[in-house]
């Protein structure tokens, strides 16, 4: 596709923007929308000559006319949702279908006093000071055209406000469900989580394709952590194998705050996950765990960036990939230690298992250090299954295929096994095993 053609393909987004209903257009946010749209108009979709998009060609997304959906054109039954809920997980739950909030299926009763969990559209309508203070402050429209596009279309998404000293014991489970609709749709989901001082919460974002529909999820999550706030974040990406998923997570952290990210990517045809963490005050720490499992012609790109802006901040990152078929994965982990950020610790690791000759991984750890008293480490490995382990299992009567699956499972499970919510851990382990040959056998092994 030439540049002109690519720009032409922006036109329908511009048209869609005109179709946004008046209610949305006239809100206090409209100026920001317009400038975000203009920015997107100028830049268009990213191109592979840009370093940040070097290995991920977004032309398949640009080529298609994904339309913005404002009305829920598909319905979904409780049974369908029950089938994908975490079994036995006591949680608050928000449900979105094709990018549109479903009040009917959401369950957010009994929140601790002062806590707000609601659809972004409802929050926007309230004209709240808190929202004005935080919305679109942490995700930079200039960094990614997809973020600009998302900002232009902000309407549905998860808004969470946890007041001071409040601990939300139950996880907040958000289901972004997608299924075939009349026209291929784009869901520009926008989430904002504001955690006040000494507050704690767990957020699970699941992106799930219920069939093999072709759609485009363009999601942006912003997180603000006040001093000593703790947020555990899980992102479970199980989009349809024909879907495109661009996800951008931005967190800005105050003093002694802690952010834990667990990003599991299993679905999608073309997937890009960005996590940007800013350790903006002393004592802030971020942990990023990730797992991507790809097969066939899937393309999954994980970009993370941590900015150590202040002294005594910590980051640690562990991403693992299992690649099969003709799939391709990208890992780019950037850590920037700013000049005044002394006595920080930053550790990063990316390990990959290539199960086929045609799979490809491009892994690139990047450390930029401008301070001199720091502890940093990084490593990346790409390999096949360990032959000694394989022989050991086979000598213990385990047939070759099962032994391979078992070792692959063990490799992937390293990212999962410490998850503290058993229903989430069990579901993830179930999904991982499901991706392997001899799934039933491995399940016998692991689910006793």
């Amino acid at each position: 596709m030439s540049q002109d053609q690519m720009n032409n393909n922006i036109q329908h987004y511009l048209n869609d923007f005109e179709q946004l209903d008046d209610n949305v257009k006239s809100d206090w946010f409209s100026e920001q929308r317009k400038s975000a749209l203009n920015l997107f108009k100028e830049t268009g979709f990213p191109r592979t000559r840009q370093e940040n998009w070097k290995y991920t060609d977004t032309r398949p997304i640009a080529k298609k006319s994904f339309s913005y959906t404002n009305n829920q054109s598909v319905s979904i039954s409780t049974e369908e949702i029950d089938a994908i809920r975490f079994q036995g997980l006591d949680c608050y739950e928000l449900v979105f279908v094709n990018g549109v909030y479903s009040k009917e299926h959401s369950r957010i009763d009994g929140l601790p006093e002062g806590t707000v969990i609601e659809n972004m559209a409802d929050a926007l309508a309230k004209d709240s000071e808190l929202l004005k203070k935080h919305l679109a402050q942490y995700a930079d429209n200039k960094v990614s055209p997809f973020t600009a596009l998302n900002t232009a279309f902000i309407q549905h998404g998860t808004y969470i406000d946890v007041p001071k000293n409040t601990v939300i014991e139950k996880p907040i489970n958000v289901l972004y469900l997608s299924k075939e609709s009349a026209k291929p749709f784009a869901a520009h989901t926008r989430n904002l989580i504001v955690m006040s001082e000494h507050s704690e919460a767990t957020l699970i974002e699941s992106y799930i394709g219920l069939d093999d529909a072709n759609y485009f999820t363009n999601t942006v999550t912003e997180v603000s952590l006040a001093p000593s706030a703790i947020l555990k974040h899980y992102k479970i990406q199980q989009e349809s194998l024909n879907a495109y998923h661009i996800g951008n997570l931005n967190v800005v952290q105050g003093k002694d705050s802690r952010f834990e990210s667990n990003s599991i990517s299993l679905g999608g045809s073309l997937v890009r996950n960005d996590i940007n963490g800013q350790l903006a005050a002393e004592g802030a720490s971020i942990v990023m765990n990730g797992l991507y499992m790809t097969n066939n012609k899937q393309h999954v790109d994980n970009h993370t960036r941590v900015d150590h802006l202040k002294p005594n901040t910590h980051s640690s990152e562990n991403y693992r990939g299992v690649l099969n078929g003709k799939s391709r994965a990208v890992f780019n982990g950037k850590v920037v230690v700013h000049p005044q950020a002394q006595k920080i610790e930053a550790h990063q690791n990316n390990a990959n298992l290539l199960l086929s000759d045609d799979a490809e991984i491009d892994t690139k750890p990047e450390l930029e250090i401008y301070a001199d008293d720091v502890k940093c480490s990084h490593g990346a490995t790409v390999g096949q299954l360990d032959q000694n382990m394989l022989f050991y299992l086979r000598s213990r009567a385990i047939d070759e295929e099962t032994a391979k699956s078992l070792l692959t499972y063990a490799f992937a499970d390293e990212v999962i096994r410490d998850i503290s919510f058993a229903p989430v851990k069990n579901r993830l382990e179930y999904l991982i095993v499901g991706r392997l040959p001899d799934a039933d056998l491995i399940r016998e092994f692991t689910n006793e």
Binding site: D386, Y392, L393, R394, S395, R396, A397, I398, A410, L441
Partner: protein, 250 residues
């Protein structure tokens, strides 16, 4: 039970076994001794079917079948067990689940009823006593964070649970202190039976103080150069391997 004839094997183009002959009958315990580099571990690995070992000549017959034709797991199903010199750590694979899968894979391939959880647990409890296996090791990942002695004990424990017909113990004594050695030896002794053959591969005679072999063979430069009874081991201990190697060279 096992009949090895004129076995030649290469590792990375280097010939290690150069015409090895060995005949092991049911119920017998054979010790294979030899200096470093004589081919002891190669023999153990060839018998268990490890990749990277190329048999260039000779044959290995096990219970009337061509053992070399079988994949490692098929050998295990047929009752062959290798206790590893260096048991590998396998993070993420639970020790006791592996054992259950192993037991049931063997039973299934023999056309026997698989054990359910209760039956399996009873078997495990019984066998744990044999090697004084600590319970917490059972539920850990295979060999992960085990001490050298615990790894070796785990091997013998697995052997006890899997009840092989032919067990090959590759330097099971190496790296063990005397107490651990006694425990392992007691475990092995308790597994001696008229239907079970055991091959002890070892560098030192001291294991044979606790496990009395029926036959002792000296392996040197890829061949068995001398065979005898338990007294041969004592003679070796006294005179060293040089004594025999010199006779061989002469």
């Amino acid at each position: 039970m096992l009949n090895i004839k004129n076995l030649h094997a290469k590792v990375e183009d280097k010939e290690i076994l150069k015409g090895l002959n060995l005949n092991v009958k049911a119920g017998e315990v054979h010790a294979i001794m030899g200096p470093n580099g004589s081919g002891k571990s190669t023999l153990a690995n060839v018998l268990a079917g490890k990749n990277g070992y190329e048999v260039t000549k000779g044959s290995v017959e096990y219970e009337g079948k061509d053992l070399l034709e079988l994949a490692p797991e098929e050998r295990a199903w047929a009752g062959v067990f290798l206790a590893f010199q260096y048991p590998v750590e396998i993070p993420g694979v639970n020790n006791v689940y592996l054992l259950k899968a192993a037991v049931n894979a063997i039973r299934k391939n023999r056309g026997e009823q698989e054990l359910d959880a209760v039956e399996f647990l009873a078997l495990v409890k019984e066998k744990m006593k044999l090697v004084k296996m600590k319970e917490d090791l059972l539920n850990r990942a295979v060999n992960e964070g085990f001490s050298g002695g615990e790894k070796k004990r785990n091997e013998i424990f697995q052997m006890a649970v899997l009840e092989p017909k032919l067990a090959i113990l590759d330097e099971t004594d190496s790296g063990l202190d005397i107490d651990a050695l006694k425990i392992v030896a007691e475990g092995v002794n308790s597994l001696r039976s008229p239907e079970r053959s055991i091959i002890l591969v070892t560098h030192y005679q001291r294991l044979l103080d606790y496990i009395k072999p029926d036959h002792v063979h000296v392996l040197s430069n890829g061949k068995i150069i001398k065979s005898g009874g338990p007294e041969l081991a004592l003679e070796l201990e006294e005179k060293g391997y040089d004594w025999l190697e010199e006779i061989e060279a002469a």
